[in-house]
C-alpha cells in the first residue's frame, strides 16, 4: 500500500497498543490524555485511518496498521465530548458529523460540526444516544456554507427523476459556467441501519446487511459475516470462501457496468452505455437463476455462502470475455476521450487524505484494494491496476480493466483451490470484517452478546466519496457535474445508511 510504503516508526500504532487490550489484541482503550497524544501523533505518522464511530459508551477509531492489520482505539467521551481526529485525518470529518447526529458526542477541534444526516425531521435528536433529545418544529433551515460573492445557487435533487438514492447537491456557479463551491445535503436516505442491526441474531443481521447498499450487497453481507465469524471464533470452509469470492466478483462486474453506463450516459457516449446495459442485463439474468435475487441478496451467511455461484461463475466469465470488444469499441467512440480526459481530477494527495479507496482511489494512484486482506484471494491473482490521472477517464479505464480482471479471477477461483486462512482468532465477542466492494472498502464492526448484535458499525466507501466530490467539483465546469458525480459511483444509500 503506497500509504505505508516507508517503514515509519509506528508511533501512533504503538501509542494505541499501550492502551488496555479489550478484544484480543486489536482493540485498545485509551485514557483521555493518551487519545490526545494519539491525535498529535497522527499529524506526523502515516498510519492509515479507516473509520470512526460510537457505540453509546465509547468512541472508536479503526486504523490499518502496516496497511493490513485492523487496529482500533477507543475512548470514553468526557461530558459528551472527545477530541476529534479530523484535524489530522480529514477523512474522519464526515464520521464525526454522523457520530454527533446519531449519538450526540461532539468532536472537539473538528473541521466541521454541522449536521450531516439529521435534517431536523427525525422523531428525536441523537436518536441512538443514552438520552435522545426533543425535536424543534419547524426544523431549522439547512446550515449551508456561505456562497462565494456574485455566485448563483443551483440545487440538484433529491428527486430529479434520476434512478438513484436521494441526495441534494448544492452548487455555487460563478456565471461563467464554473462551479465555485459544491456541497451535499445528505440524510434523505438514512434508514438507521445501525439501530436496526442492534438486537438481531446473526442471520437476521446478514439479511439486513444485504440490503444496506444494493450495488454492494455481497460485499456488505460478506464483511458482516467475517466480522461475526471473527467475534465468534468461527471459520468459513473452503467451499464457502470460494463462493464468496465468486459472488463478490460477479457483483463487481454488474456494479461496474451500472456505473460505467451511468457515466457514459452523462458523457453522451450512448454506444458505450448501451453495451454496458446489455452486458449487465445478461449477467443479472444469470444471477436471477440462483436463488431469485438478481442483485444477489441473501446469498452469503455466517459460516457459508451459496455454492451454486460456481455454476454461473464460468458463464459470467464467458459473457465478460465476449463483451470486451464491444466495450472497447464504445470506449474508443470519437470525442469521448476529449470529453472525459482531465475532467474531475482527484489528485493522489487528496485521495489519500480524504480516505478515498476503491475504483476512485485506484484511479488516483492509491493502491487501496482490500482484496489483499480477504480470505480466498491469492496475492498473485491481484493486479495492481493503479492509474495516475485521477480524472473521469481514469475512473472509466480502471473499471474497464477490472471487468477483465473479474473474468480472470472467476476462472482462477473456479480452477484453483481457494486460499483458506488458518484458524480464526479465539472468540472475544467482538469482531471486525471487511470486503472490497465494487466501489471501495466495506467495513463492519460488531459486538455480540448471547448470539445477538449488541453494537455495530457499518462503513461504506460512499461517505468518503461524498466528501471527496465536494473537493473535486469546486472548479469544475457546470456541464460536467453529472458526469463527475457518476464517475465516482456514489450511492447516497451507502453514505446515509
Amino acid at each position: 500500500m503506497t500509504d505505508n510504503a516507508e517503514p515509519a516508526p509506528p508511533a501512533a500504532a504503538a501509542l494505541i497498543r499501550r492502551g488496555e487490550d479489550e478484544a484480543g489484541g486489536w482493540r485498545f482503550r485509551l485514557e483521555e490524555e493518551d487519545w490526545h497524544a494519539l491525535g498529535a501523533a497522527l499529524r506526523r505518522d502515516p498510519l492509515s485511518f479507516v473509520t470512526l464511530w460510537a457505540d453509546g459508551r465509547d468512541v472508536h477509531a479503526l486504523f490499518l496498521d502496516a496497511g493490513e492489520r485492523p487496529l482500533v482505539a477507543s475512548v470514553e467521551p468526557y461530558g459528551g465530548r472527545y477530541l476529534g481526529l479530523s484535524a489530522a485525518r480529514p477523512a474522519a470529518a464526515p464520521c464525526e458529523r454522523c457520530v454527533q447526529d446519531l449519538w450526540g458526542f461532539s468532536a472537539m477541534d473538528a473541521r466541521d460540526s454541522r449536521p450531516w444526516l439529521d435534517q431536523g425531521l427525525w422523531t428525536a435528536t441523537w436518536p441512538l444516544g443514552a438520552r435522545p433529545g426533543p425535536v424543534a418544529w419547524p426544523p431549522e433551515p439547512p446550515d449551508f456554507r456561505p456562497v462565494p460573492r456574485d455566485h448563483a445557487v443551483w440545487g440538484i435533487g433529491p428527486a430529479d427523476g434520476g434512478h438513484r438514492a436521494p441526495a441534494h447537491l448544492r452548487l455555487a456557479l460563478d456565471g461563467g459556467g464554473a462551479v465555485g463551491q459544491a456541497e451535499w445535503r445528505l440524510g434523505y436516505a438514512h434508514r438507521g441501519v445501525v439501530a436496526r442491526l442492534t438486537g438481531l441474531d446473526a442471520d437476521g443481521a446478514v439479511r439486513l446487511a444485504g440490503r444496506a447498499v444494493a450495488g454492494a450487497s455481497v460485499a456488505h453481507q460478506s464483511a458482516l459475516c467475517r466480522a461475526i465469524e471473527d467475534a465468534t471464533g468461527q471459520g468459513a470452509g473452503a467451499a464457502a470462501v470460494r463462493s464468496r469470492v465468486l459472488l463478490a466478483e460477479i457483483e463487481r462486474a454488474a456494479t461496474h457496468l451500472l456505473d460505467l453506463s451511468r457515466v457514459a450516459g452523462a458523457a453522451g457516449a450512448t454506444a458505450l452505455a448501451a453495451e454496458c446495459d446489455r452486458l449487465r442485463e445478461a449477467i443479472l439474468e444469470q444471477c436471477g437463476r440462483i436463488g431469485g435475487h438478481r442483485l444477489l441478496m441473501d446469498r452469503v451467511w455466517v459460516g457459508g455462502g451459496d455454492e451454486v455461484a460456481a455454476a454461473i461463475g464460468a458463464r459470467v466469465a464467458d459473457l465478460l470475455e465476449a463483451g470486451r470488444d464491444g466495450l472497447a469499441r464504445g470506449r474508443a467512440w470519437p470525442g469521448l476521450e476529449a470529453r472525459i480526459a482531465g475532467v474531475g481530477v482527484l489528485d493522489a494527495r487528496a485521495a489519500r487524505s480524504l480516505g478515498v479507496g476503491g475504483v476512485a482511489g485506484r484511479a488516483s494512484a492509491r493502491e487501496a484494494d482490500l482484496r489483499r486482506l480477504v480470505p480466498g484471494y491469492r496475492r498473485a491473482w491481484l493486479e495492481s491496476g493503479v492509474r495516475r490521472g485521477g480524472d473521469v477517464a481514469a475512473r472509466i479505464d480502471v473499471r474497464l480493466a477490472e471487468l477483465g480482471g473479474v473474468a480472470r479471477l472467476l476462472r482462477l477461483a473456479l480452477d484453483g483451490p481457494p486460499d483458506v486462512p488458518p484458524a480464526a482468532r479465539p472468540a472475544s465477542g467482538e469482531g471486525v470484517g471487511c470486503a472490497e466492494g465494487p466501489r471501495g472498502g466495506v467495513w463492519y464492526w460488531v459486538r455480540l452478546v448471547g448470539g445477538r448484535i449488541a453494537a455495530a458499525h457499518v462503513c461504506d466507501p460512499a461517505l468518503a466519496q461524498a466528501a471527496a466530490l465536494e473537493h473535486v467539483l469546486a472548479g469544475a465546469r457546470d456541464e460536467d457535474v453529472a458526469m463527475i458525480v457518476r464517475s465516482f459511483g456514489l450511492s447516497a444509500a451507502g453514505a446515509d445508511l
Partner: protein
C-alpha cells in the same frame, strides 16, 4: 405525522384509468432505500429493454408525469419531497409502489428516521412486490394501469 396529511386526507378515490393515448409519463422517486429497486427501474430505462415499445416514458419533472413511481421505504426526510412531487402532477394521476420497502417498509419499517411503506398511508393504484422486483415485473405492473394485461411484458424474461 403532519407531513403526510395531504396524502391521507385524500381518502377514497375511484379507480384511476389513465388515458391510453401517447406514452405514459412516469416520474420516479427513490425515497431512501438500498437503491436496489431504483437500479432495476434504471435497467428498464436503459438500452437492455425497449421501453418505448411498452408505452412507458420516464420524465424528469412531476409536471409531465401521469404516474408517480416510488421505490424504497419513505424516510421522514423524503416525505415532504414526495408530497411536493404528487401535488405538482396533473390529474388524472396514479401512485405506484415498487418493491417491498415502498409497499410496507420491508426490512425498513417505522423508526426515528423512517415512516415505512405507503400502504395504509396513501391510496396505491398499483403495488409491484419483490425485493427487488425484476424489470419485467415492473413493466407488467405499469401495463396494468393502462388496462393492458400483464401479457404485454410476457416477451421479456422474468427472473425474480
Amino acid at each position: 405525522m403532519a407531513l403526510l396529511r395531504a396524502f391521507l386526507a385524500r381518502g377514497f378515490r375511484p379507480a384511476i384509468r389513465l388515458p391510453a393515448v401517447g406514452p405514459m409519463g412516469v416520474f420516479h422517486v427513490e425515497t431512501g432505500g438500498c437503491e436496489g429497486c431504483a437500479m432495476e427501474v434504471a435497467a428498464l430505462d436503459g438500452a437492455a429493454y425497449a421501453l418505448s415499445a411498452t408505452g412507458v416514458r420516464f420524465v424528469t419533472t412531476p409536471r409531465l408525469a401521469d404516474v408517480l413511481l416510488v421505490t424504497g421505504p419513505l424516510t421522514r426526510g423524503m416525505a415532504p419531497v414526495l408530497e411536493a412531487a404528487w401535488h405538482a402532477m396533473p390529474d388524472p394521476r396514479a401512485l405506484v409502489a415498487v418493491g417491498a420497502c415502498a409497499i410496507d417498509g420491508g426490512p425498513f419499517g417505522e423508526n426515528y428516521a423512517v415512516l415505512g411503506g405507503l400502504e395504509g398511508r396513501a391510496p396505491l393504484d398499483a403495488s409491484i412486490p419483490g425485493c427487488p422486483p425484476s424489470p419485467a415485473a415492473i413493466v407488467a405492473g405499469l401495463a396494468g394501469l393502462l388496462g393492458v394485461s400483464g401479457a404485454v411484458a410476457s416477451g421479456l424474461s422474468s427472473s425474480a
